[in-house]
């Protein structure tokens, strides 16, 4: 895959965004057309159907490398990436050849179609013709997850640079369903009307965390305040006689939430709504844990539909009567949204997310402090005069979240991380005290600096008491402040408690393990906020 492997190498050998953009743009100008299409597909999270299982891949790689499988399995967590581990253990190819990205994808397709006993031969034949980089990329095509430091934003910018087309129009074009094999480069990068494809969503507008005092935003009357609900962002499209629901991660989730199909019976075609999907019960939003059971399903059992029904709380109106409203000010969009939803019966499944009104910032801050009781994470602040922007642009949308809850806990288990954090102990299990005993209650992976992780890694190696596979039990000495956004009862956990978004707020070097918080304290938090 000469051009693609060169592109990967150039991307991998720089940390500068400008160099990455130029490398991508050059690829988009010069590489063969099908390679370009596949590259865009891969960088936006699409991949060819998995040809072989990762279990088989590991087995074959170990055999080819002449090492026992256990040794391969020991090396994998240290490398942190399966595709890379395979490419590193295999003996150098006797006869590396250059094949395009498309040719390798077609070869993978043929392997997928072959009888199971022939797939091994197909994969080995491919490895025998690849250098280390090609092998890594080929394995990545199989295992998926093409995260190589290219964000969708970066790719879109490079695409705009290479084609001379408008970046926002390209971003819109790349969303929704398209197939690298069924389209052409010209069709993919052509500018079209937004409604030429009924299923295509608008890029989501994203908010930035508010770090300065809210007074810095000026006059409160210039702003719309709303609850920041703890569900998942969704975009509901009613177009062409049907409906589509998209998540913020640009997954099509229509089938996971069949309740929202009813919206099409009550709202006109040519409507696109941005809102929050929440499980609803007793006339109020339910904790995120309730929604978790609904995620990632192609079909939803009746029982679950009855136990955890969802509603869409509408934030914004992006399209009305087939007209793209995004350039209009929020005050205008919001008024049209309210008018559209006014008087809608409950079975439509869509409500207006209420505005939170207060006479001044201080009063609004007091309301914000009630957010957790209302099952919200805080407030959203949106400038009433602002258009609906593409992506995260600072200035118009702010998330003003509550300060997280926190407890001090002691680390009891440690495990090595993956990828960039391979070879460092970064995944920790924490415990609180229950009398003399330590009760594990959460894991956390983030919040510390690389330097702190390196220091803890050295410490873990010297304070290991026992090993359970990749997990090390350590002397319970290091204390951390664990911050989290929510707390719920959970029969699946030993402590009976599950946290939302736990992370390490700081390393409490000043605090001995004898002074960490107690299980009783956690239960009190659960009683108040659960």
């Amino acid at each position: 895959m000469k051009e693609f492997a060169q592109l990967f190498t150039r991307l991998d050998q720089t940390t500068k965004t400008s160099v990455k953009t130029e490398a991508l743009a050059q690829f988009f100008r010069e590489a063969p057309e099908t390679d370009r299409l596949w590259a865009v597909a891969l960088f936006s999270g699409r991949r060819p159907k998995r040809a072989v299982t990762t279990t088989d891949l590991r087995l074959w790689a170990a055999e080819e490398a002449g090492i026992p499988l256990w040794l391969f399995e020991e090396a994998y967590p240290i490398v942190g990436d399966l595709a890379e581990t395979i490419s590193l253990v295999l003996p150098p190819a006797p006869d590396p050849q250059e094949q395009s990205l498309t040719q390798w994808i077609l070869e993978l397709r043929a392997i997928a179609r072959a009888a199971p006993e022939q797939r091994r031969a197909g994969v080995l034949a491919a490895w025998a013709r690849q250098g280390t980089t090609e092998r890594f990329l080929f394995n990545k095509l199989i295992t998926g997850g093409f995260r190589i430091g290219v964000s969708r934003k970066l790719m879109t910018r490079a695409l705009a640079q290479a084609t001379g087309r408008d970046e926002a129009a390209l971003a819109l074009r790349l969303m929704g369903t398209w197939d690298p094999e069924a389209t052409t480069w010209a069709a993919l990068t052509a500018e079209e009307d937004a409604d030429s494809d009924a299923s295509r969503p608008y890029p989501f507008c994203l908010a930035s965390p508010l770090e300065d005092p809210p007074e810095s935003l000026g006059d409160l009357s210039d702003w719309l305040a709303e609850w920041k609900w703890d569900g998942i962002r969704g975009q509901l499209l009613l177009r062409g006689g049907t409906h589509h629901l998209w998540s913020r991660g640009e997954d099509l989730i229509t089938d996971s939430f069949p309740e929202l199909a009813r919206a099409a019976d009550f709202l006109p075609q040519g409507t696109v709504i941005d809102g929050e999907i929440l499980v609803w019960g007793d006339g109020a939003p339910q904790p995120f844990a309730a929604l978790q059971a609904r995620l990632g399903r192609k079909t939803v059992p009746k029982k679950l539909l009855a136990e955890a029904p969802v509603r869409l709380l509408a934030y914004d109106l992006l399209e009305d009567g087939g007209e793209d409203l995004r350039a209009a000010p929020l005050s205008h969009r919001r008024a049209r949204l309210a008018a559209l939803l006014d008087g809608l019966p409950e079975e439509a499944g869509v409500d207006l997310s209420p505005a939170v009104t207060a006479p001044d910032w201080a009063a609004l801050a007091r309301l914000r402090s009630e957010a957790r009781e209302r099952r919200a994470e805080g407030l959203m602040l949106k400038r009433l005069a602002s258009p609906y922007r593409d992506g995260r642009r600072r200035g118009d949308w702010w998330k003003w979240k509550l300060d997280p809850l926190s407890v001090d806990a002691v680390m009891i288990y440690a495990q090595q991380g993956h990828g960039r954090r391979a070879n460092l102990f970064t995944d920790f299990t924490f415990a609180v005290r229950d009398g003399e005993a330590l009760v594990p209650f959460t894991k956390a992976y983030s919040g510390l600096t690389d330097a702190e992780f390196a220091e803890i890694t050295t410490w873990v190696r010297r304070h290991t008491q026992a090993r359970f596979g990749p997990v090390r039990q350590v002397t319970p000495d290091l204390v951390f402040e664990i911050a989290f956004e929510g707390i719920q009862a959970s029969p699946r956990h030993k402590s009976g408690i599950a946290l939302r978004f736990p992370r390490m707020a700081r390393w409490r070097r000043d605090k001995p393990a004898s002074e960490v918080d107690t299980l009783e304290g956690l239960r009190a938090l659960l009683a108040r906020y659960g």
């Binding site: 040794l71 090396a75 240290i78 942190g80 590193l88 253990v89």
Partner: protein, 337 residues
Amino acid sequence: MTDPVLRFTERGMYCTAADAYVDPWRPVPRAIITHAHSDHARPGMGSYLCTPLTAALVRHRLGDVPVQALPYGTPLRMGEATVSFHPAGHVPGSAQVRLEVAGQVWVVSGDYKLEADGVSEPFEPVRCHGFVTECTFGLPVFRWDPQAQVAAEMNRWWAANAAAGRVSILGAYSLGKAQRLIAMLDPSIGPVLTHGAVEGTNAVLRGLGAFAPATEQITPEFDRARARGAMVVAPPAALGSAWARRLGPGSEAFASGWMRLRGIRRRRGAERGFVISDHADWDALLRAVAETGAEKIFPTHGYTEIFARHLKAEGYDATPVPTEFGGDDEAEAEAGA
């Protein structure tokens, strides 16, 4: 059953017959030192026995300490033991320690590599009954390309930077790796400049006729405009520092065996990672172990348990030994690898 030649103690590897420790990590009266890296040659020993080159480097690092120099291949009687040094190929002056007691021969490898690097005395296999071996890179994912190939990559990178008017900054451990890399550079591309820590070692080795290439230290008076197109060799800590930024627009690279892993390359944040190590790779470790003919193998720092398990499966009597060389600690070993 005879007593083992070495015992593994809290202070380090102790040879009872010689009443001396090999690379001890706590102060002891008599220390036998494999090489001058800081995790092997520590301060506070009553006396140091090492090769002449290591002796000079130990004095450079630790000051006026009592050092006795013993050339390679020269046996020295210490109590009931006979001690000799044999090239380990790790860095200039580095040695394996051969200890013979009542017909039993044990060898402590120190750190080593098999490939001749042009600045260190090339590794010599030593037959023995017991072999204490490092295994910093004791995993089958570690395989090094030949030095000439890495040299070509490095010089291409430098030449491209020089053509664009940028300075190239190469991060490498000051003792050993830095001199090896400098010797691999093509001086026709431009001047080779050094950080003071690297130049200090260069000067010691030059004084002993052990290092030839011309280098120029970047002193506070140095005219930084002259750094354009130059290669700067500096300790890893200098990468990304204010010191490096003052050299003008440039590109940074890190040279280490750990650069074989993408995750670690990304964590270091250097633009380029050259995979080159002064430690043996997986295949070389296995070859070195086989060539000693030893039955008892003691893997020390690195992936000791994994390596020992593999050796056992291959029929060796292998026991991992905890040491405090960089600890069992890749994060520290990373700097010197």
